[in-house]
Point group: C2
Chain length 288, copies 2
């Protein structure tokens, strides 16, 4: 086992761009942390794929991230957190965390009537992972899950602000709106990008939980507990071409890797993150 | 080089289910042919991915299909036809054909004003392959391309008959409708499943070309020319568990392979094909 240092980066991965909403929260809440992000743009989306493929993909990505001397790994993807976290956590000699437990913890804290909605990909909802985790935290909690498979392409193809998004939201969420849930988890990292429209559609009676925010808070606790929280140091090694400094609000050094072309990834990332990614590097993830 | 027989199957592949619209046409027009279909459900969609990944995927699939003693291969995917056909054709010792040349040939035959629209994935449109091929066939032809990335998820998530499909069609095709094209190619194998709605939207002035139909006709010519057309023989070898006979309108034996779970694939296939697929087999395509 390698001995990690505070200045070592955090590894973050997702099937594509969705995990950038988690990255954004980590940048905000842990502005001194260095990060290595991997977006699996060659194999996106994960939400319609099988458990064993998602586990295989996650293992490859973790092997890749470990070549970057990361001190901890965040699976910034609900589908991979639901299907692969339990398995890969056991196999990995550094901490690996997902987005589901933090999101579930926030939802049980927020709800007053113990009735919680969860929206996500087909694979996430079918796994019932949010229900299982919340049932452990709050026995008797009632959970209503709803897969919303069109939300990811709606976001990725730039329709989040188009009126088509409203119709798709109505199509998927009419039953949630009519139910008596008081809390709903945005159980896919793309969904925070539809947050304001979903909030407007559901009205004041339903509180939305964004696991990204909670994940960054949990990550801070985890690093603090292991005495690995970076409170200001730089990486202390030669920076590579693709590494770059963030602005004042995000002081770390950030590296972005993808498994397919980066054009769309960069464009998307630059619309989400608090600064412009200048370079990304493409790797062949099947080699790991 | 293996010596192929008339009763050997035709290999057909696509990124997922879209190629089944081509399979359907082959079943209709060449009802005695046996077929081995591969749907790359683990790596779908292709339309947003890079040329070198599409070439790598196509090579692996061709290697897999050749283990099934196929006598010819149809790339039943516009994106792979646009990006990989030229390369893989040269490397393969049996005929490999795509859907673009047949679709292009039909469009130049149909047009009266030499103004043709093409809709497809981002990768297909960006490749300008339809334009290049049509320009060779009809110098001076004017081609207007339009990527429609949301059409694939709209079809795959079952929205083809929902009014959301109409709005998405209006979003992408308003400019086509206002242009003076008289012919438009459905340049993605999913799009024939939106054909009636697109036709209704565009009106009588624009003729739609479905390359699937033309591809099956070209395939017949190709097989005939090589004296490999199957006019009634069975495969003449032990059938495997996954092989099955079609109904009267499709007399061949058909095998279906996928690279991820088959549930959705089967459900979708059974809504498109003239009979129910009972079994599919999953393979690890990365091993080829």
């Amino acid at each position: 086992m390698n001995i990690n240092k505070k200045t070592d980066p955090i590894g973050v991965f997702d099937s594509g761009v969705g995990g950038l909403t988690v990255t954004r929260e980590i940048m905000r809440q842990l502005p001194n942390e260095n990060m290595v992000y991997f977006g699996d743009t060659a194999r996106v989306p994960y939400g319609s794929k099988s458990k064993d493929n998602i586990i295989r993909y996650s293992r490859q990505i973790i092997r890749f991230l470990q070549t970057k001397q990361v001190k901890a790994i965040v699976i910034a993807c609900n589908t991979a957190s639901a299907l692969a976290l339990d398995v890969v956590k056991e196999e990995t000699d550094i901490p690996v965390m997902g987005v589901i437990a933090p999101g579930a913890a926030a939802a049980v804290r927020v709800t007053r009537n113990q009735k919680i909605g969860v929206i996500g990909t087909e694979a996430t909802i079918r796994s019932h992972m949010y229900s299982k985790v919340m049932e452990e935290m709050m026995p008797g909690v009632e959970v209503i899950g709803k897969p919303c498979p069109l939300f990811v392409p709606i976001v990725e193809e730039g329709f989040a602000k188009h009126h088509i998004a409203e119709e798709v939201i109505d199509y998927y969420l009419a039953s949630m709106k009519e139910s008596d849930i008081d809390t709903m988890i945005l159980g896919c990292t793309h969904y925070p990008l539809l947050r304001s429209r979903i909030m407007k559609y559901l009205g004041d009676g339903i509180e939305l939980v964004n696991p990204a925010y909670e994940t960054a808070m949990e990550l801070r606790k985890l690093l603090k507990g292991m005495d690995l929280l970076n409170e200001g140091g730089s990486r202390g090694k030669e920076t590579k071409g693709e590494e770059q400094k963030g602005p004042a609000c995000a002081n770390g050094s950030y590296e972005f890797y993808v498994s397919d072309t980066a054009d769309k990834f960069k464009q998307f990332a630059n619309s989400i993150l608090p600064y412009d990614i200048r370079t990304t590097q493409r790797i062949n993830i099947e080699e790991y």
